[in-house]
Amino acid sequence: MEGGSEMKVMTIVQAVTDALDIKLAEDPTIVTFGEDVGVEGGVFRVTEGLQKKHGEHRVFDSPLAESGIVGTAVGMAMAGLRPVVEMQFCGFVYPAFNQIISHAARIHNRSRGRYKTPMVIRFPYGGGINALEHHSESMEVLYAHIPGLKVVVPSTPYDAKGLLISAIESDDTIIFMEPKRIYRAIKQEVPEEKFTIPIGKAKVLSEGTDVTVVAYGAMIREAQKALALAKKDGISAELIDLRTIYPIDRETIAQSVKKTGRLVVVHEGPTTFGVAAEISAMVEEDVFQHLEAPVTRVTGFDTIVPLPRGEHHYIISPEKIYYGIQKSVRY
């Protein structure tokens, strides 16, 4: 994909910064803003250094108002800019919900293509960082179910960079959810130059024959640990990183399940009406006759993510995934 590019070790945070930096340098219509995004560089330091480098008109602080942030981005996009906005935490996107569902997702359809909204709404999601309420949720379904949006979740620094560049280059509105739990936990060699990863395509991370495991974001690392446990047990599991939540790459999943006959879906968000439900329904539609066991969901409780002292109850451990794998294989 990127022949001969220099590599650099990056965290997910650095990969996101790098993607923004590259695109800001390359395309003068790109602006990025949000609460504390400018001077401070964001509460997770994702935009650190970018204001100094690209100027105050391109990287800046906004007033504290999420509907204002997304809504002005919609206006900018209609006027020809390509805004990338940051919502500070997953739990603080909701004030912007009307602008997202009624406008960011729909202007192109409403105007029969006259106006586009090439914008990215990025925010950290997920638990595991000992945070207050509203800071730990995984509500990707709320976006993925909305016609007109695409939802992307990277799981590694490499993917974060390549997917974010694709998201910024997309002419559609992209919800870009960053697994904050592993913001700095994973370091990986990433090409220094620009590259893209297609939106809507899952990736088979490791091949296996007994069972397919689908996960994304911070759950990939946990799933990999679970696969190691399973392997010791003689179970050969295939791991698929979904990468995009909508549109789902049903083909890749179907192909895998055709081979393994069994499927475990892992995600942090609530079980009921969760991503696993949709994958379960799709797989049934696509490869019903190959299914040797019901799809197993290893997913969040239908509860609010507890405050830190209770979070271990909620968070999905490698063991719990492994448990799900066993359940599926032994069905």
Binding site: S67, G75, A77, S111, G113, Y115
Partner: protein, 362 residues
């Protein structure tokens, strides 16, 4: 102007009284006689189209429609000032402004006949679609204003909202962003005294809407929205203010929704005939006509035949809309994304399979 007519003292900016007399000549905007007559004719055309829309709807030839009756001078004033390169960010009740921007009446009818095509306004440069979710467009205007500054363009954004809309959080957020970013936006609140059935007094406890601008450091003025001269002058000053880098302006245009909220609404439920009549003498078209007649710029006897000409034109546009192509299945899917997901393609194909099967049923 903003100082002389401070909304804090609830001053009303007025140039012409209800009898068409100029009561504040020092504030009279410069408009050529010709342009003024055009403004009158445009308002008359808009009213003709509006009244006919209501009757088309009654005939079952169109879906719900929101009448503009009585509010025509607001768009009239905007029309005089707005340039081709300026942006119009509409709400849904400013027909005259849409027409002035270049939207075709046929398209507008198409919208209320149930075609998305009707809100594209292809002929209208820099006009965005109608905003149904109240006040959400106020925020877009700030963003467009940011983009104008960013690209150092000579453009002003006109954004419209109703009195009810000023209660939405987005009204506040939008004004705040526009102010902080010094965006060149002219916000026009059509205070027609009602949000469906809810009267202004139940919407807010503030003395007027213009004072709301103060919350955001935005220069604001309360204008007689049925006075074409006051509206034009206020919009001129606001335009100049915004485009010279002084930031957004808020104009409260005081008017009265003489018709129903929409064709589905029945105002007798919540307001009296007396109240309605008390506003009739402030009708914006009547007032301008009185002025023009006094100035010998208009001959009332010609009006009837002009209106019947307009009616024919409106009918022509309406029929063009009625004869618009049917809505293909494809259009349900085609525009949702620039890059359409396979899923959607499959859903369309599956539906076509069903349609074939259904054919076979018969």
């Amino acid at each position: 102007m903003f100082k002389e007519f401070s909304p804090l003292e609830d001053k009303l900016f007025q140039v012409m009284d209800k009898d068409g007399e100029i009561i504040a000549p020092e504030w009279m905007p410069e408009i050529s006689d010709e342009r003024l007559v055009k403004a009158f004719k445009d308002m008359l055309f808009a009213r003709t189209a509006d009244l006919m829309a209501v009757s088309y709807q009654r005939q079952g030839r169109m879906f719900t429609y929101p009448p503009n009756f009585g509010q025509e001078a607001i768009a009239g004033g905007m029309a005089i000032v707005m340039r081709d390169q300026d942006w119009l960010v509409p709400a849904f009740r400013e027909l005259g402004a849409w027409l002035a921007k270049g939207a075709s009446l046929r398209d507008i009818f198409l919208y209320f006949m149930g075609y998305e095509e009707g809100t594209v306004f292809r002929g209208a440069n820099n006009m965005v679609p109608i905003a149904v979710p109240i006040a959400s467009q106020i925020v877009h205007a700030a963003g467009i204003g940011y983009a104008i500054n960013y690209n150092k363009k000579d453009e002003v954004v006109y954004a419209v909202v109703g009195d009810g809309g000023t209660s939405e959080g987005d009204f506040a957020e939008g004004l705040n962003f526009a102010a902080v970013w010094n965006a060149p936006v002219v916000y026009i609140v059509q205070n027609n005294q009602f949000a469906i059935s809810v009267p202004f007094k139940k919407q807010t406890r503030s003395i007027n809407i213009a004072v709301k601008g103060i919350a955001f450091g935005v220069d604001s003025i309360k204008v007689d929205g049925n006075d074409i001269f006051a509206m034009t002058k206020a919009v001129q000053v606001a335009h100049e203010h915004a485009s010279s880098g002084k930031g957004p302006v808020l104009i409260e245009a005081v008017t009265y929704r003489r018709g129903a909220h929409t064709t589905s609404d029945d105002p007798t439920k919540y307001r009296t005939k007396e109240e309605e009549e008390s506003w009739a003498c402030y009708d914006p078209i009547d007032r301008l006509r009185k002025y023009l007649v006094k100035k010998n710029l208009w001959d009332e006897s010609k009006e009837e035949s002009l209106i019947s000409e307009y009616k024919k034109e409106v009918d022509r546009q309406f029929e063009a809309a009625e004869n618009y192509a049917p809505y293909p299945l494809e259009d349900v899917f085609k525009y949702l994304y620039v890059d359409m997901p396979d899923d959607l393609k499959v859903q369309k194909v599956e539906h076509e399979k069903f349609l074939k099967w259904k054919e076979g049923l018969k």
